[in-house]
Symmetry: C2
Subunit: 163 residues, 2 copies
Amino acid sequence: MTFETSLIDSALRNWRSNVDRADKLFGNLSQEQLLQEVAPGKNRLIYLWGHLTAFNDALIPLLGFGSRIRPELDLMFVSNPDRTVTTILSGGELKIIWQETSQILWTGFSKLSVADWLLKHGAVSEEDFLREPHRNRFTVLLARTTHIAYHLGQAKLSERVQT
Amino acid sequence: MTFETSLIDSALRNWRSNVDRADKLFGNLSQEQLLQEVAPGKNRLIYLWGHLTAFNDALIPLLGFGSRIRPELDLMFVSNPDRTVTTILSGGELKIIWQETSQILWTGFSKLSVADWLLKHGAVSEEDFLREPHRNRFTVLLARTTHIAYHLGQAKLSERVQT
């Protein structure tokens, strides 16, 4: 490996490790367990899982890998707070989407060259990117990895998910 | 910037962003607020802050930047659970150590070359590193960034820290 590919390899390992943790933590819970709140009055586990799934799905176009597969996740798990949308997906449905988006992203990651990783992501204009070249795909990968970890920490607080 | 330094720059920005969030979140709370639990029966905010401070301090020797400045933090915030050690540091004391360790780490980071980042960290043997070259300093930086985010997510659950 070159220096560049070693650095990218580290970031991909960290991504994978957090995705796998989420997969294990949420994927092994029953629907009843997923409907528990992480703490009294706080988000339910299913909301956090749907939220992370929506963010993974949104990464697909942001990194230039194609179209989202389930844009309707945003209304259920991002733009509206938990318990305000009456019909949301079940844990079983989220599990399938989580694994599908994870696979699409992993395939996309593996095709990017070092130079590709440093190209702008989909939500920044050419003009802004000239001024702020750190708004690249690699930065997005790192930020989304910490986003998963942030909510994993919350999900682990629920007594029902002690592992 | 070269490809390598751009990749490292992204990781350092992500580290800094999470350290700054922790600084703002914990550093603005009163001692009374810090003694609140993040959720009923869970760790208190002061424990999470001490825990992150102990981990930052331990990063100093792990990355080869020198000796720890406060190794006694481990007994209070790492090796023993919350509320089992009678005398722990106050928020005011933690704030000073947090800022001091953050400064030492930042100075150390800025002196590392690309090749340095890919050297083994202090807790892996030469022999193991030959087999597992991903156990390098850059990987540690990424893992510790997600560790901060993990506990930030928990700390944000406390109603007393709504910002």
